[in-house]
């Protein structure tokens, strides 16, 4: 029987407005073993913690229960407070009477009654808690960044600047990501390549940064501080060390019909290619699906013209295994597929394009060399219609329920750039709401309207009808004027919703990092831990966590880097002491637990046992607590009941069940 103290927090009015805290205190005083109970407005405050410490010392408490917010919030706080007062930190239990009680119930009677029951369950559990001691594990001082866009590059640069080794894994042949595809950036209209290329060069040149381009993460094992990652380096068929990047192979390659991924399929590229002129590394790859040599065995022109002898058709994929202390996900985004949005005629007319495609059209290195022209006939458009929220804010089976956040601003940018360069072109924007929170953002949008005469119409577009004369009939709402508008346009640009890059779910699964229904990675706390995944040692950078623009991405990238540096700066980490443990006397060595353990943490040893006076040697399970992550799968699988989990033992959980059902 422990001497237990119960501490009930008001959390200002967050708890106290719905739960009668005084009554909770009075009621729990009657519980077995409770020798102290009190309430305080903010238990997590310094004064609150001092209160707890004082009680522990004065009343010689052996265990405490804090009735407060979620343990995910302040369990660590109260454990530290207990430790400072000389109590083992694992003798602390939290009864969650805020998130699971006061915030979801309105009736004070009901909420108070529930708070008491939750407190009782925690008291029943803490009676059975034991003095656990965390172990230690070493930290591998190297970080992995998955994704080589602006988010990944910035994170890697910041980590490397602190003196740690960083590897970037990028699945395409070059780093640069989506930002390299943009023409100009809002709200200052700087040229995207001009500000990105130096960063790419810095990353490539940094002695602490190692690039794995044209590579993908194959598998991940281990845990915070000790990840082991297999990286697949896809065969480039070009020797990175020999290639000088002269570009002759690309010029001479006879197969030039593959769609250029970089230009969003608007033009073609050769079978041996670098995605764009400033690509880093400036070493081409051979796309086996369009290479004549790969398909038929004949050709080999690139090999013949390569002065450096860098072409190697026999190259194979290579698997590299590397150890990391921390992993940053920076996988970025793509625009959604528009097949389901037939009403916008995107698949029918080449003159209906997405905004990202327009970026390529406006770019001097793009398919039209930067001239604004219709992709169907190359004519200069006179009337351009922009449609906002294509697939965003769609709570249906076709689109995404969220706001993609960047579209209002880039559409204003596009409209402004077009009006600036081609003053005779009329630009109309159909919008639902114009959302411009951000420094100098609304001013930017207003400039599009006031200085550049962009015509903003509040209302969605219902249908785009390609006309026999090649024009497009746009039928939309003008809600403010109360009209249905039918207007001719030469080009229609769709502000297409963005979504996390396709492979992110697979990566999240490998990392056991949680992911939401829209495939955005979940942060450990939406406000207070926005760049950490709930999985220790995994951090988030850029749009993989939620829609954001370039400055936000760069800030978050830096924040993620700081978290990584904080982790790598430690030599050792304390491990979770809530691991499995086998009772040698009960174990019959059947191997069932070993089979369900996802971490290979269970082994077998021949041990001498004394079973009721009979001494014999038995094969029994032994848990390696450094590997055990404490899931508890083995405890349920064990047929003889030998396996138990420290901190969540069978007796503890049963005691909670009993207390709740009492």
């Amino acid at each position: 029987m422990q001497r237990i103290g119960v501490f009930v927090c008001h959390c200002g009015s967050n708890i106290a407005a719905t739960v009668d805290v005084k009554r909770v205190v009075e009621t729990v005083k009657k519980e077995q073993g409770v020798v102290h109970a009190e309430d305080y407005p903010y238990m997590c405050s310094e004064a609150g913690q001092a209160l707890i410490a004082a009680a522990i010392k004065e009343k010689n408490l052996g265990g405490i229960v804090v009735c407060s917010c979620s343990p995910r919030m302040h369990e660590a706080t109260f454990r530290k407070a207990a430790e400072r007062a000389g109590l083992n930190p694992y003798m602390v239990e939290i009864a969650n009477i805020r998130e699971h009680c006061s915030w979801i119930h309105k009736d004070m009677e009901e909420a108070t009654e529930k708070a008491v029951i939750l407190a009782r369950a925690a008291i029943a559990k803490v009676h059975l808690n034991s003095h656990l001691q965390p172990g230690e594990s070493l930290v591998t001082k190297r970080a992995l960044v998955i994704g080589g866009g602006i988010a990944g590059i910035q994170t890697a640069l910041d980590i490397a600047e602190a003196g740690y080794e960083v590897d970037i894994v990028e699945k395409t042949p070059s780093i640069g990501g989506r930002m390299s595809q943009l023409d100009k950036t809002f709200p200052t209209l700087d040229c995207s390549a001009c500000i990105l290329t130096p960063k790419m060069v810095d990353a490539a040149a940094h002695e602490k940064i190692n690039l794995y381009t044209y590579s993908e993460v194959e598998s991940v094992s281990g845990f915070v501080g000790n990840f082991s990652v297999d990286i697949r380096k896809k065969a480039r068929f070009v020797d990175m060390n020999k290639c000088t990047g002269c570009g002759l192979c690309q010029e001479k390659c006879p197969s030039k019909k593959a769609k250029s991924e970089f230009n969003r399929g608007l033009n073609t590229r050769s079978a041996i290619y670098t995605p764009f002129a400033q690509a880093i590394p400036n070493v081409p790859v051979i796309d086996t699906e369009s290479c004549v040599k790969m398909k038929t065995g004949k050709c080999g022109l690139c090999e013949k013209v390569c002065q450096a002898g860098a072409i190697d058709y026999s190259q194979k994929d290579e698997i590299i295994t590397e150890k990391y202390g921390a992993i940053v996900v920076a996988t970025g985004f793509d625009t959604i597929n528009l097949d389901q949005y037939g009403e916008y005629a995107y698949n029918e007319s080449p003159d209906v394009i997405t905004s990202l495609e327009l970026e390529r059209v406006m770019n001097a290195a793009g398919p039209t060399k930067g001239h604004l022209e219709r992709l169907s006939d190359g004519k200069a458009p006179k009337e351009i219609v922009f449609i906002q929220c294509v697939g965003s804010r769609c709570d249906d089976h076709r689109g995404k329920p969220y706001c993609s956040k960047i579209c209002c601003m880039y559409t204003a940018k596009h409209a402004m750039l077009i009006r600036d360069k081609y003053p005779d072109v009329n630009v109309t924007v159909f919008y639902i709401d114009v959302r411009t929170p951000g420094k100098n953002f609304d001013e930017f949008y207003r400039r599009a309207v006031e200085e550049y005469g962009v015509n903003y119409i509040k209302g969605q577009v219902g249908k785009v009808v390609p006309q026999p004369d090649g024009s497009l009939l746009v039928q939309g709402s003008d809600l403010l004027d109360g009209k249905q508008i039918k207007m001719r346009a030469d080009m229609v640009v769709l502000a297409t919703a963005i979504e996390p890059e396709a492979g992110v779910r697979k990566i999240a699964t490998m990392l056991t990092a949680s992911i939401d229904t829209n495939n955005f990675l979940t942060e450990a706390h939406p406000k207070l831990r926005p760049v950490e995944s709930p999985t220790a040692g995994v951090f988030l950078s850029g749009v993989c966590q939620g829609p954001k623009d370039i400055p936000e991405t760069v800030s978050q990238a830096g924040a993620a880097a700081v978290k990584v540096i904080g982790l790598l700066a430690k030599d050792k980490l304390l491990t979770n002491p809530c691991t499995a443990e086998s009772d040698t006397l009960l174990c019959n060595g059947c191997s069932v637990c070993q089979n369900v353990c996802p971490y290979g943490a269970i082994g077998y040893e021949d041990k001498e046992v004394n079973d009721h006076g009979i001494r014999e040697t038995r094969r029994v399970a032994v848990v390696n607590s450094a590997l055990c992550q404490g899931c508890g799968a083995c405890t349920v699988a064990c047929p003889s009941g030998a396996m138990d989990l420290k901190g969540f033992s069978n007796r503890q959980i049963l005691a909670e069940v009993d207390a709740i059902c009492r």
Binding site: S70, V596, P598, Q629
Partner: protein, 145 residues
């Protein structure tokens, strides 16, 4: 005149620490209510839930037990929720056989981002248990005198 007391079921919800417990926290911080009849027990993973815990709950007078874990493929420990799903399928059909209706037990996947789902599921589950009424008490014959 005797007033018939409103039936307030006892419901135990086992929630895994990584997804469902966080989902319940999110339901709380988003103020998405569900009846106070639901009491949550935190476990590291849905696979930590021993069928014994559920039998014990019914033995002690619970009217419904729900187990929530991460979505398939999203388990923090990779495969725990698959074990839980298999174990529960077996247990629930046994319970049904013993006279504890299938509706009194449920497995649900709730992610850390699904506060809405957590609240919806709990509301539904409580409605279901209320419609089923009081549960039969499972007894442990070994303890009978």
């Amino acid at each position: 005149m005797p007033v018939e007391k409103e039936f307030r079921p006892k419901i135990v919800a086992f929630c895994c620490n990584w997804c469902s417990y966080a989902g319940a926290d999110l339901a709380g911080s988003s103020r998405l209510g569900y009846p106070a009849d639901v009491k949550i027990i935190r476990v590291p993973c849905s696979c930590r839930v021993n069928p014994m815990f559920i039998l014990r709950a019914f033995e002690k007078g619970a009217d419904g037990v729900i187990l929530c874990g991460c979505h398939p493929g999203d388990c923090h420990y990779s495969t725990g929720n698959y074990y839980a799903r298999r174990r529960m399928t077996l247990l629930f059909s046994l319970l049904d056989y013993l006279g504890v209706e299938e509706g009194r037990t449920r497995v649900e996947w709730v992610s850390a981002a699904e506060g809405v789902k957590f609240s919806t599921v709990m509301n539904e589950f409580v409605d279901k248990i209320r419609s089923l009424g009081e549960n039969v008490r499972l007894g442990d014959l070994r303890c009978k005198n």
